[in-house]
């Protein structure tokens, strides 16, 4: 499952500023194919900003990001290539409210991958099956619960056949009883071998699934470790402080 010598995301000396505010400081990070990385940290630590830089939703000012062999620069072609390989799921689901669930999924494959409508719909149904939500295919997003919407969002990202999936606090906006159904889908994806980078506060999930946990605070990666060691023997005081607050 893990091919430790097959880096798929390489981040070197990444620095980002919002105006004059130094939000990401010298980030160095590598993700290999098949790895599952969890990033945690207090709010304002820059974790969302970091993964948004990976598919250029946010722009970085200094440093290098290489995704699936393509370096991320300002060039539109590079950005388009990267976004084809990377799927992203947001905290606020962000489904298109004016399209049905099925249309939400087939939009990008039909227009970017130039798939015939029928093939796109078959693909969409397959993925809806994978996230266990086929019966809602013709409903509007507004008619679904939060958990259902997020599962649709995951299916929508998977429709583009990405090599990497990014999750930006996928369960933070959900009611507690719906968190499990979404985490189960993500766990299943992990078992199927998808390379993933997940920003989350769900430590139970991290313990079960992650290969590595990164702890960020105030724009820096403070430490990273295997989950077994991370929770029991944190290296730094900051990490311990954080862990004592959330566990």
């Amino acid at each position: 499952m893990n091919q430790l010598n097959n880096p798929i995301i390489e981040i070197t000396n990444l620095n980002k500023w919002f105006g004059n505010f130094h939000v990401l400081k010298n980030i160095n990070m590598t993700i290999h194919k098949g790895e599952i990385i969890v990033i945690c940290g207090p709010s304002g630590s820059g974790k969302s900003t970091l993964i948004r830089c990976i598919n250029r939703i946010e722009e970085h000012q200094k440093g290098k990001i290489i995704v699936a062999g393509t370096e991320l620069t300002g060039k539109m072609k590079n950005i388009a290539d990267v976004r084809r390989e990377v799927g992203m799921v947001f905290q606020t689901f962000d489904l298109f409210p004016h399209l049905t669930v099925l249309e939400n999924l087939t939009l990008a494959p039909a227009w970017i991958l130039k798939m015939p409508q029928k093939k796109a719909e078959e693909l969409a149904m397959t993925l809806l099956k994978r996230v266990q939500i086929t019966d809602q295919a013709f409903k509007m997003p507004g008619q679904l619960s939060g958990g259902q919407q997020q599962r649709v969002a995951i299916a929508r990202a998977l429709c583009m056949n990405p090599k990497i999936m990014l999750f930006d606090e996928p369960t933070s906006a959900l009611d507690p009883e719906m968190v499990k159904e979404v985490l189960d889908v993500i766990k299943q994806l992990a078992h199927d071998g998808m390379t993933m980078c997940v920003v989350t506060h769900e430590m139970g999930f991290a313990k079960q699934v992650a290969n590595r946990i990164l702890f960020m605070d105030q724009g820096e990666i403070v430490e990273e470790n295997h989950p077994d060691k991370f929770f029991i023997s944190p290296k730094y005081d900051r990490t311990q402080q954080f862990l004592s607050q959330i566990i």
Partner: protein, 369 residues
Amino acid sequence: MTTLSDAGIEIQVFKPMPDLPAPLESVGIIGWLKGNLFSSKINSLLTFAALFFLWKTLPPLLSWTIIDATWSFSSHPCPTEKTGACWTFIFVKFRVLMVGLYPQELLWRPILTFVIFGGVCVLTALRVLQTKLLITLWFFLPLPLFFLINGGMGIETVEQSLWGGLMLSTGLAAIGIIMSIPLGILLALGRRSSMVVVKSLCIGIIESIRGVPLITILFMASVMLPIFLPQGMSINNLLRVQIGIILFSSAYIAEVVRGGLQAISQGQIEAASSLGLKNWTITCFIVLPQALRHVIPSLIGRCVALFKDTSLVIIVGLLDFLGMIKASAQDPDWLGYDAEAYVFCALIYWIICFSMSQYGKSIEHHNQW
């Protein structure tokens, strides 16, 4: 002092990296320019086009309005060599533009009216008074101010045909709004009534008035009203026009209030009636105040619209602000100053309307008076 983790391994103190300043190209003036004006090829092209346009229009405009303009207070037309605006024209005509043909020796009355009215406006804008006090103040304002301008009851009367200028515009608009709000509320309530006759009548009135231009209403008021009145009774043109404006405005206010009423949830009404309150009480004291509070920004929008609409009274023979501007520009002794006249007119209207709509926006923002 060293601390130990659960596994007994020594925990180190983390030394955070210092904040570094952002690279030059992304902050400060250069950063702003890059982000906002030159972020792409198309944007850069547009920026240059816009700058070119400004370079062609702003300097001539500035030199005409300010630099080359004549600002003297003399009473003679400007020397023809001067290429700038002749603001002397405005200074000379100022009194007429403000109060029309109001007798010069009684000018203290419009001035006093203006001061009082302005004072109330400022108090409203500064939000220093309680809501109920403010509404009562506004409601009872027209009568004494009207008497100040008009006269009667011992004070010397001034013929209404002499009224004009900005005083007339403001008066028509203010009385129009103040009188049309209660009327509009009645129409809106009538439209929601369960009595078929009342409901159809109100819908008929509202939709007829809203479907036709203000000019036709003004014509109707000016020309048809005398025909509708019993023989012998007559009302002067100003009153007819004012009635027309009030009727016109009330239909639009009715629609605004209706929107506010629809926003009040049924639950409120049910809760109130379960407390034993009668229908009328519920409407007056629970539903209406909330509905009105919801639509205050829209009501202010209607004020602005009505103030602009009063400019149409020139078509039925009244010389309001715009009317006096036009008439002054056609004075045989002062020909050729149309540009100055219209620019000044636009400036005054703009200041008043913009201030009103900014006030409306600030209400929306603060979500209260």
